[in-house]
């Protein structure tokens, strides 16, 4: 298959849109199940089209830019954010042959792009020229920077263990032994992912009851949809990376590779949703203390441990 066809159709844009509608639907249904209610029900069979309807509602909305806002930045940011996270997906091998590009620096590029997100979200808050957005922007920078260091360290642990940055090669070399040795790194990675992508219980930049909606407060309609989608894609991409690095990617018996990939992703998402339904949001200072005093030292120790293991294995 040509690479551009891949980028548009199969592991690319359209495929991802369908996947995200599915993830949104699952999130709503699982949350509804925990809440003991029904969830989406009326739009489409079993409410499957509810999210589609919501997205189309957002598309119809008026394009509102605040009078004081920086108009260029304000309208540009959602697309910049979307582009940055969409680029992440290109490096994910969903199965043996369905990936868009594969380089020897896959992991590095993904982590670098994720590290590039805080300024984008900060500018989203800053360009809105609203108090709540501005505080949200500051919080996002604070939180992401403290979350990214454990993220990098735990991802690099896997890279050190397998001796490569190429996703495909990592998947091919993965084994049960690797899984158990990298288990601490996996846990740190998933926690750091929740922090970096502002998922509950670390949704401090969007804390609705404190600062309305953080840097998303002034956004509406299509801009809002794109920004939220880019945050979702970021989470999806990081979970995909977690699957590739720690859970053996598309490997698995009987079923085709892509099915295994999504079963593993779904497991991670299930964890996210259940945490969301049961864990209150923590405070910024508590988060910083947790990141710098617990997570980062653990990630460092873990990296040292992996280097030690690597010395004995090779």
């Amino acid at each position: 298959m040509e690479a551009w066809i891949k980028a548009i159709f199969f592991p690319g844009f359209l495929f991802l849109l369908v996947v995200f509608l599915g993830i949104f639907y699952m999130e709503r249904k699982i949350l509804a199940d925990v809440h003991l209610r029904t969830g989406p029900y009326y739009v489409g069979k079993w409410g499957i089209l509810q999210t589609t309807a919501d997205v189309f509602k957002l598309l119809q909305k008026e394009f509102i830019i605040q009078r004081r806002a920086n108009k260029l930045l304000f309208s540009l940011i959602p697309f910049v954010a979307f582009l940055m996270v969409a680029a992440l997906i290109a490096f994910i091998p969903f199965s043996e042959h369905s990936y868009i590009v594969s380089t020897s620096f896959d992991l590095l590029v993904v982590l670098a792009l994720v590290t590039g997100m805080p300024p984008v979200f900060f500018y989203a808050g800053w360009a809105s020229k609203s108090k709540y957005s501005f505080i949200g922007g500051l919080r996002v920078v604070n939180q992401m920077i403290s979350g990214e260091i454990p993220l990098w360290l735990s991802a690099l642990a896997a890279a050190v263990f397998y001796g490569t940055l190429n996703h495909l090669q990592i998947v091919h070399e993965s084994s049960w032994l690797g899984f158990f040795i990298l288990l601490p790194a996996f846990l740190i990675f998933v926690t750091a992912t929740l922090i970096v992508t502002d998922r509950p219980p670390f949704d401090i930049p969007e804390a609705e009851q404190e600062i309305v909606y953080g840097f998303l407060t002034e956004f509406g309609g299509f801009n809002y949809a794109i920004l939220v989608l880019s945050k979702l894609i970021e989470l999806f991409a990081l979970y995909s990376v977690a699957v590739v690095l720690f859970l053996g990617g598309f490997k698995g018996p009987v079923l085709p590779g892509i099915v295994w990939f999504f079963i593993k992703i779904f497991g991670l998402y299930l964890f996210t949703f259940v945490v969301r339904a049961s864990t209150p949001r923590i405070r910024m200072d508590q988060l910083l203390r947790f990141c710098w005093k617990v997570l980062t030292p653990l990630a460092l120790l873990n990296l040292a441990f992996i280097i030690l293991v690597k010395m004995f294995i090779s």
Partner: protein
């Protein structure tokens, strides 16, 4: 400038307002940032808190109320003794029985009407039902301000059962208008009792175990709310806190126990108190009172006497006045009712517990983090309708 106001000798100082242009940063230039936490805010309800923050620290909080002022106390003066309950119960729609009971007891005191025993028991059942309904919402909204909506959903399911019982009793689910001077308005039918028992069963067998498993002793909830908004015992009395907030500071003040009204004197229950006085203690007090209330309802249903549920209340009440306190869901609710011998109240003053708690709040919100503002706000368990009346 020859307008009449300046001629009369008044001067106005107009604060200089500076428009922040799109170019400069604007927000960073002032060290203190004033946030308008409310009127249109996801967690504020119909009131505004002016919150001055220095970075992430709250410097000062100033509540601005009056957005749901309905002049309930004034409206009562245009009603007859019986009809006035519709204004009294709207002080806060979540627990309407407590306010109606207080008003009715005050009216009965002035008119010197003796109540049948059954009316007292039905009032007790309804009041505790109202307390449970209110506490369920209180629990849900306390955890809700930390971004978890599960408790609210669970609480609403349990609340539905009680609302069903109220509907069977009075035909209305929320504003029931069911307690009047001279007793209760409707006969407590077998079906109502049955519904109430099934609601309490659901609460005790389904809701309480499920909720206690997840949201009581929840470690994240604890690190968020323990040690936040601490009010020591002496300070709580000095500030005039009311209800669960006062009991969480270690003051065993409960009108039901101290000055029993309705059937509370004959029932066995304990006053829940905590020593810590922080947001988590207030949450636990609400939680344990919920369990106590369910027990009170069971006792009251068992001891429900036979007989009339309503006596004749005179159309014209002799002149006089009465002050009555009742333990409402959110604290001690005072009614000062004055009669001038007419067909309706001459004057009614309601002393609202939420209002007392609200003005204690700025004291608690000094030097806390911005993220603690909604937690303390929700832990004080206030009702906006009650603040403004």
């Amino acid at each position: 400038m020859g307008n009449s106001i300046s001629l009369a000798g008044y001067t106005f100082v107009v604060e200089e307002t500076k428009e922040i242009s799109g170019e400069d940063l604007g927000l960073l230039q002032e060290k203190l940032l004033q946030l308008n936490w409310g009127v249109q805010h996801p967690a504020s309800g119909p009131m505004r808190l002016k919150v001055w923050v220095d970075g992430d620290e709250v410097v000062k909080v100033d509540p601005d109320i009056g957005y749901v002022l309905r002049l309930l106390e004034k409206l009562v003066e245009y009603r007859t003794w019986q009809n006035a309950i519709v204004n009294v119960e709207r002080a806060c729609f979540i627990d309407n029985f407590g306010t109606m009971t207080g008003y009715s007891i005050a009216a009965e005191k002035i008119a010197d009407v003796e109540l049948p025993k059954k009316a007292d028991y039905v009032r007790t059942i309804l009041c505790e039902g109202g307390r449970i309904v209110s506490h369920l919402i209180g629990l849900g909204s306390f955890v809700g301000v930390m971004g978890v909506h599960t408790p609210m959903q669970w609480a609403l399911i349990a609340r539905e059962k009680f609302l069903d019982a109220f509907e069977v009793y009075s035909g209305q689910r929320i504003a029931t208008a069911s307690i009047v001077p001279g007793g209760v308005r409707f006969e407590p039918t077998g079906k109502f009792i049955e519904k109430m028992v099934s609601a309490v069963d659901f609460l005790e067998k389904e809701f309480i175990p499920r909720y206690a498993e997840v949201f009581i002793d929840n470690p994240t909830l604890k690190i968020r709310s323990q040690g936040i908004g601490v009010v020591p015992k002496e300070k709580a009395i000095e500030l005039g806190l009311a209800g669960p907030a006062l009991r969480a500071s270690g003051v065993a003040s409960d009108v039901r126990k101290d000055y029993p009204y309705a059937a509370y004197g004959e029932l066995d229950f304990k006053v829940v108190t905590k020593e810590e006085g922080d947001a988590y203690a207030r949450y636990l007090v609400i939680w344990e009172e919920l369990i106590e209330s369910a027990k009170i309802i069971r006792q009251a249903i068992e001891g429900l006497p036979e007989g009339e549920w309503r006596t004749k209340f005179p159309i014209k009440v002799p002149a006089g006045e009465a002050y009555v306190n009742v333990e409402w869901a959110r604290g001690c609710f005072g009614f000062h009712l004055v009669s001038d011998g007419g067909t309706g109240p001459y004057r009614l003053k309601m002393r609202a517990p939420s209002f007392a708690n609200l003005w204690a709040m700025p004291e608690m919100m000094k030097n806390v983090k911005l993220a603690d503002v909604p937690v303390i706000f929700a832990s004080l368990y206030m009702c906006h309708g009650d603040i403004d009346r």
